[in-house]
Symmetry: C2
Subunit: 229 residues, 2 copies
């Protein structure tokens, strides 16, 4: 696996997250992009809590992971990092003119149009799970998720990928579609072409390597007093 | 104003939106970018409802505005459009190396980190305004907004712009900060450097031209049966 201690690229990730977040923390999206283009990287693992300390906030003002550093540039925001990787090495841009713009379009669509109702679901069912409105809000959120999936399904149609060839836009869209698990897994299955699309992405060797490295990185301990529900 | 009928660039916008959305519909972000770099454009105005019809969904699979077409490329997602404009003409990238990556980082931070709790506020106070949980949810949403503003305020510090010179990242961040109005306007005022930052952006002649054109475009009628609260 290209997780190499001497690599010139360094990303940050957590050394522990709760089970529900494994496979979703955004360092996976950056690892996948690096694997697709074959760039080695090393990982600086942050114990929970240290992401909010000044040392990390120097790299990431919002106290999140991942960050990316390659000697030339220091970046945060997984969308920007994945687009930068697509610029640095071949493998994440489709053929044809305006490849970068067409790729960025789908990265933004994934993060700013499809992901928001999925994030809202996470807020309702995790952060607000113990609130009396958690349950009653859920049908409307499911509807907003379903509307986006239907629109994406119609655009994808019978195509293998969004822009002809696999690109960073597919990587990010498939990573967002992975948020459809647990109680909302059924929504994806309403759209067989999207379910197959996600499976095609997850079947890529670069994804398998990235996921294995992502999961293998959780060697730390939960914060004091953490109890898994 | 560079809204020119014969311009090679066409964007789409609505011919009517309710008062609360004027100044926030995302065609304004694209108009502002075009004004900053001095590219003429023309606008195809969509009557409410037609954005969800097949003709527009060909351009925008999610049935939204704006879209962008310049003869070379057809794009949707205002983040991708603004980055494409920054590539096409000088004026929206900072000086120094990796200007595009540093700009993209802040465009994504605006849309994917700072905007989400502001969008959640809009959901709670507009779409869910008549729900019993609209009120009780608001304090937690205000806290999430305030956390992001505090983090952005600390990063901006005494700087005029996020990357030294005004760039597309400032444009998008300031457009997102404009969502702080009405009941949440007070949150911005807790951070004088952010309030001043937004004012600096709004004082730019390109922004004034973009806003005037955006507002002048609302010449259509509300949908059947619309009643402004």
């Amino acid at each position: 696996m290209p997780e190499v201690a001497s690599a010139p690229i360094t990303i940050t990730a957590y050394d522990w997250v709760p089970g529900f977040a494994r496979g979703l923390v955004r360092d996976l999206r950056v690892r996948w992009a690096l694997e697709e283009v074959g760039l080695d990287y090393r990982v600086e693992y942050l114990p929970q809590g240290t992401q909010k300390e000044p040392a990390h906030r120097q790299r990431q003002p919002f106290g999140q992971v991942p960050t990316f550093e390659d000697g030339e540039v220091k970046l945060f925001e997984s969308g920007a990092i994945v687009l930068h990787i697509a610029d640095r090495a071949p493998g994440l841009l489709p053929a044809g003119p305006n490849a970068r713009a067409r790729t960025a379009e789908w990265v933004f669509a994934a993060l700013n149009t499809v992901e928001p109702p999925l994030s809202d679901w996470a807020i309702a069912t995790l952060f607000e799970a113990d609130q009396p409105w958690s349950e009653p809000r859920q049908p409307a959120i499911r509807e907003r998720i379903d509307e986006r999936l239907g629109e994406l399904s119609r655009r994808l149609g019978d195509n293998e990928w969004l822009e002809g060839e696999f690109c960073a836009g597919d990587l990010m869209m498939i990573a967002v579609l992975q948020m459809l698990r647990g109680e909302i897994a059924d929504l994806l299955n309403r759209y067989p072409n999207l379910a197959e699309y996600r499976k095609r992405g997850e079947a890529r060797p670069a994804y398998a390597r990235a996921l294995a490295a992502h999961l293998a990185g959780f060697t730390g301990d939960p914060p004091e007093g953490w109890t898994e529900d």
